[in-house]
Subunit: 230 residues, 2 copies
């Protein structure tokens, strides 16, 4: 990434949420030969919109183009300036700062986004500097570089705040889902069990769901209804 | 502002809300000899936290140190890059870009904050480049530079979204206020009239207010109760 291609001092990081096996998970990168773990992120090209840069990065990591994406906070403390971390990442890839990468050792502010994707649709892909890009349950994360742990925690808090207000939970599921599946998503995000009857009554009262035909299975009374968000 | 003192490419802008005479108002700067109007903003020193830079700027404009301040969005479209606006501002002050101000003509992303202050406590102060720093009702704003109009609109939308969720309205009032004054603030923010009985019932049901003694006035039955947020 030569200096001329990107805006200096400005980075973005993405907290990419998925839901599987009852867990809320996020994508974490492991950098080559370093044992260092980080959120997927990147830089903004000189003539690129910030939001487009983030979509470009998400597409590179997930293959998806149609993504629920929300900017939630810009992290700008001076204490997040730690050139040794970036120097370690570069050197582990045989890159010396003198090779035109000096700008990557400067202070950065990071604009943080969260994305909600349907876990089933994604095959995560590492970038040029990393060995892997994998799902981790949010309560079993490895140690992350810089302030990335704080970024994750603020993303989860924002997701909780937006759960009812913006009905974001549905973005973690296939288009049609059962009430039970939706409840599982809510429970994973909130980190707590909900009462089934209370949850169902609340979701139906909000009048945001469309109920579809039962899938015929021979035991019709057992098959749950499928729903989708209006 | 010599190049060595500030991070290039990164600015902040503040939407500073106050409430007076029934109107929601914001502070707007008018630059010397240009007829150009803008939000108060500034830059981040090389070793300064982003949030501290914003508090520093707010203190310079308002004299206040204890301010309700919330970051709400970072504006990063390439289309906001317009070096002619900054060149005009500098030249109107007799400053040539060659004087070490060339960095101010570069592309900037802007981290936007909104602040809520008690109008009574503030005497706005212009900065070195501006003639005035004055209150304007949000629906009687002059034309603003760059994307500042968009920034204001997103700030108002965020304020509306947070009105019940974060009970931010009280920050626009003195510590103690009448129910009627609080309703006026809500109406100004929402841009719509509310039913008095419905509003009062809702605020009391939320159990967020403390009711104080009536101020004795000789016509006790006429004096409204004073409230404060818990």
């Amino acid at each position: 990434m030569p200096k001329t291609a990107y805006l200096p001092h400005i980075a973005y990081d993405s907290v990419i949420f998925g839901f599987s096996e009852g867990d809320l998970k996020i994508l974490i990168m492991e950098y080559h030969n370093t044992g260092l773990f980080a959120l997927p992120g990147g830089f903004v090209q000189l003539q690129e919109n910030l939001n487009d840069a983030v979509l470009r990065g998400l597409n590179e990591r997930t293959g998806l183009t149609d993504i629920y994406l929300e900017q939630f906070y810009t992290f700008g403390d001076f204490s997040r300036f730690d050139p040794e971390v970036m120097r370690t990442l570069l050197e582990a890839n045989g890159i010396l700062p003198g090779d035109g990468y000096q700008w990557m050792l400067d202070r950065f502010i990071s604009v943080a986004y969260y994305a909600l994707i349907n876990y089933e649709e994604v095959t995560p892909r590492p970038d040029a500097l990393s060995d892997s890009c994998e799902w981790y349950p949010v309560n079993e994360l490895p140690e992350l570089i810089l302030d990335h742990r704080n970024i994750v925690e603020k993303a989860i808090q924002t997701l909780r705040d937006n759960l009812d207000r913006k009905l974001v939970g549905g973005n973690l599921l296939p288009k049609k889902f059962t009430m039970n599946e939706l409840q599982n998503v809510y429970e994973a995000i909130l980190g707590t069990k909900l009462r089934r009857t209370t949850f169902q009554r609340k979701m139906l009262a909000a009048e945001v769901l469309t109920r579809h035909e039962k899938h015929f299975s021979g035991k019709a009374h057992m098959a749950p209804y499928l729903y989708s968000f209006k």
